[in-house]
């Protein structure tokens, strides 16, 4: 890729402003995010007539935002009078679970408090699940959206960042797009080993 912009001119992001989802359960959605999760309502708009002048009919809608910490928000669109489309909400299996929103808490105690709160409210929630550097709680909102609250269990160190970059190099070289050569994870680990060897062990 040939960019004309120098590294110092690169624009930078400052966090997630919001992610947005359709809802057909506006009452349950507000009660879940505001009353159970304790998120403050930040903003709500309503609109009619969108798209009519362009020939693309658009239902009237409300768009509302809940504060999710650190200036981020989760937002919903309620399209008045439309029928629920389950293919947009009820995402199942590992592919469905892969699409989720995860929020951060600072301490394991905060994670435990959320777990307790969800159980008291009758929200289906997992036990705390430990990953390499995260403890996570998984649950589903009234729309069927997969959600997570995560607590970092150790800081991400410079070595983690170096390693992650090498892993993605190995991933791209091994699988490309759609894995046309039907490579395996072991193939990728072998390529990663070559990259680590070349970078850190052959040079001394």
């Amino acid at each position: 890729m040939n960019f004309t912009m120098s590294p110092s001119e690169m624009p930078s992001l400052t966090g997630v402003h919001h992610t947005a989802f359709p809802t057909w359960r506006p009452k349950d959605t507000v009660e879940f995010y505001r009353d159970i999760m304790g998120l403050r309502i930040r903003h709500a708009i309503s609109a009619t007539g969108w798209g009519r002048s362009g020939g693309q009919p658009h239902p009237d809608f409300l768009h509302f935002f809940f504060e999710a910490g650190d200036a981020s928000a989760i937002a919903f669109f309620y399209y008045v009078g439309t029928e629920r489309r389950k293919e947009f909400t009820m995402l199942k299996g590992y592919l469905g679970l892969a699409r989720h929103t995860a929020w951060n808490v600072e301490t394991p105690q905060e994670l435990e408090k959320f777990e307790k709160r969800f159980r008291e409210a009758g929200v289906k929630v997992t036990e705390v699940v430990s990953h390499e550097t995260l403890d996570s709680l998984y649950f589903v909102d009234p729309n069927g959206y997969n959600l997570e609250i995560a607590c970092q269990t150790r800081p991400i160190e410079p070595v983690d960042i170096v390693d992650a970059n090498l892993t993605l190099d190995a991933m791209i070289e091994t699988f490309g797009n759609d894995n046309p050569q039907h490579k395996t994870m072991a193939d990728m680990w072998r390529r990663k080993g070559e990259l680590v060897q070349e970078r850190f062990f052959d040079t001394v």
């Binding site: 390499e132 150790r154 160190e157 070595v159 390693d163 680990w189 080993g193 680590v196 062990f201």
Partner: protein
């Protein structure tokens, strides 16, 4: 000769210790352990969460991954 690279981070410390306890030759550089053996490298799982057990070869391997079941890892 199989080689197994292990990232020097807390979640993989038990793997590195298991290999060190087997007296497998090791060099450490830039946050990576490189374990080399003229024999197959075998690790038995002990008290490890799935994420750690199934993820520890992320730093790389050299050789033939013969087994990585929920109990045993074997690299030849």
């Amino acid at each position: 000769m199989p080689k197994l690279y292990i990232l020097d981070v807390p979640e993989f410390a038990a793997i590195a210790k298991s290999l060190a306890d087997q007296n497998i030759s090791c060099v450490k550089r830039a946050g990576y352990f490189c374990f080399v053996s003229d024999q197959p490298i075998k690790i038995i799982r002990h008290n490890m969460i799935d994420a750690t057990w199934f993820g520890f070869p992320i730093a790389g391997i050299e050789g033939n991954l013969v087994e990585h079941s929920d109990k045993v890892f074997r690299l030849e």
